[in-house]
Amino acid sequence: MEDFAIRVSGLGKKYRISRNETGLRFSERLRELLIGNKSGHVKTKEEFYALKNINFVIKKGEAVGIIGKNGAGKSTLLKLLSEVAEPSSGTIEINGKVASVLEVGMGFHPELSGRENVFLSGTMLGIPKKKINEKFDEIVAFSGVEKFIDMPVKHYSSGMYVRLAFSVVANIDADILLFDEVLNVGDAAFQAKSFEKIRSLIAQHKTVLLVSHNLNDVSGLCNSFMYLNAGELVEIGGKQVVEHYNFDAVLDDTVIGEKADPSKENTIVSKVEWTTTADAPGDETTKCLSAAIRAKDKKEHEHILFNDKVVLDLLISNTCEQDVEFGFTVKHFGSFLLAGGTSFQTEKDHLILPKAKFVLSFEFPDHVFLSEGFYSISIYGIKQGDLFLLKENILQLRILANNLSFYESRYGVYPGPLKINTTTIIKIIE
């Protein structure tokens, strides 16, 4: 007996997008039909690869979260695995009975009662009738629509409808389960219930493939992850796949500094430079010419380790002596604000910028501060209460935690927002 549940090799799916011909006049179309295409119309057929050369093996009992942006090919992959669509190339080998839920409420007919729809939808999901009979009360109780079960579902509220639909799905019975966005159904309380239901399916050592846009759901349920991008399999593996995906999402969503090289998609932007003063952020008298993040006593672009001291350098050009506050924020994965730091330490401790071109460095405190992972950094400047400079997510920071000793890792991760008491250093260049 082979121990894999799904093995995919060289899998590809090609779609043909034929150009819309409605622009042709009737006479032209008739001529084309009768004498062929002689009128010089080039009937273009574009090809589009929804999936390209996908290879992976999923072991029995694995719970795999499929992540990626819209159009990455997640749903197409599930369609191929569930045989709804046929592959254009490659092979899929499957060990065990497959059941797929590509849509919650599939097969529900508005004219039929809740009871009838439970049976209908159950059959479509491949649940034997006997089992639906046995579980019927449980299904109805889970959905919470007991009172309305003999009413046509067209009279249901949309919440009742999807709750009943999901309750059928939860009783799905197969070795390999494919789910496409089944968890964002109903209100928060119901979602929590369905989350537990899926978790219990996973606990029964079924092989589960789950597509969801909610990364918290995916990472809470699955033990391995598949990251698709533009039809290609970027990575498959453990939790770090989610981090990488998140990191890439940060890169995509933000203006990656004017100097960032777009060809290096997965590199970390640790330095941004603005070549002309016109481009540089700031106001008439104060400009930020570059921003860089590095580890102290290391060169730029070198890896930053867990126990390194992190330094943020801003190259500032200032044309008159004035009172300015500079600061930065650190976001985790570009999602929540983790911490912030500023040059404006106390009420009295104003920072008077010299009339010069200088490097303003923020040195992070000595103690371990950021845990392993990806962070994005925004910078800002405030002058007399006005925010005159703001560049969001311009730098990325990756902290590595290779070979940590117990003493280095015993403090854990900081919760919640922090103010980082940085040491501000000014080093005048010109």
């Binding site: 695995l81 709804v84 046929e86 490659g90 080998e93 497959v98 599939m106 007919h109 004219e111």
Partner: protein, 271 residues
Amino acid sequence: MAATKIITADSGKNGLNPGKVWQYRSLLYSFTVRDIKVQYAQTKLGILWSMIQAATAAFIIHLFFGLMLKINIPGVPYIIYAFPGMAAWYYFSYIVSSSGTSLMQSQHIIKKIYFPKLILPLYKTVAGLVEFLVWFVVFIFILIIYRHPLSINTLWLPLAIFLNIVTGLSIAIWLSALTIRFRDAFHIIPYLIGFGVFVTPVFFETAMIPASLHFLIFFNPMAGVIAFYRWCLLGMGFPVQYLWGLVPVFILFISGLYYFRRVEGIIADVI
């Protein structure tokens, strides 16, 4: 546990695979039940409507052809002659129009779950059978009214129904697959049904048209099916030439199944 299932491109070239359809028979059953239930959902009279429809049709035909045009069929009252033909034609046109468009009608399901698509034209055919049987109940009433005996050949009725279904499906399977590639095929259906009834001896007798044109009628499969019904129910003559009608049915049915299989793999992509 089942052996490893292998999915590759072009599964449509792997033969007809009728076992797959059998494997999914519970789905066929569910679809059929749903179709019947939906049809009568929220109506007070339910299936009685089908009976009313059949009775009304019988009455109008009796009035128009029997009393006004005075078509005379030797040996049987006109309505008793015409009714089996009407019922058979009704069922045939039901299969062609419902099964023929079944893939297009179910495109949403096709995109979301896997099943052998042949289930779709098949379940429509089975669902239509219920209404067809209602017509037979009406026919029995008409026989009682006229005190006309039912022939002993009625025992062959299942074969007649089977031939009726195969004839309908031979066209419907082609149409349903064609509508996937060419939507235009959809527009053929009303012509087939609307004009077909005039070249099929539903309301008239083959003897009424010139003998030189009889060969055309013999190649019309529905003419044979209807003649067979009349042989079954009324014990009327069945000229063996009608068996020619089986030739186009056989060719269309088998080629239709192959064409359907070829299209099946791309349905979810193009629909």
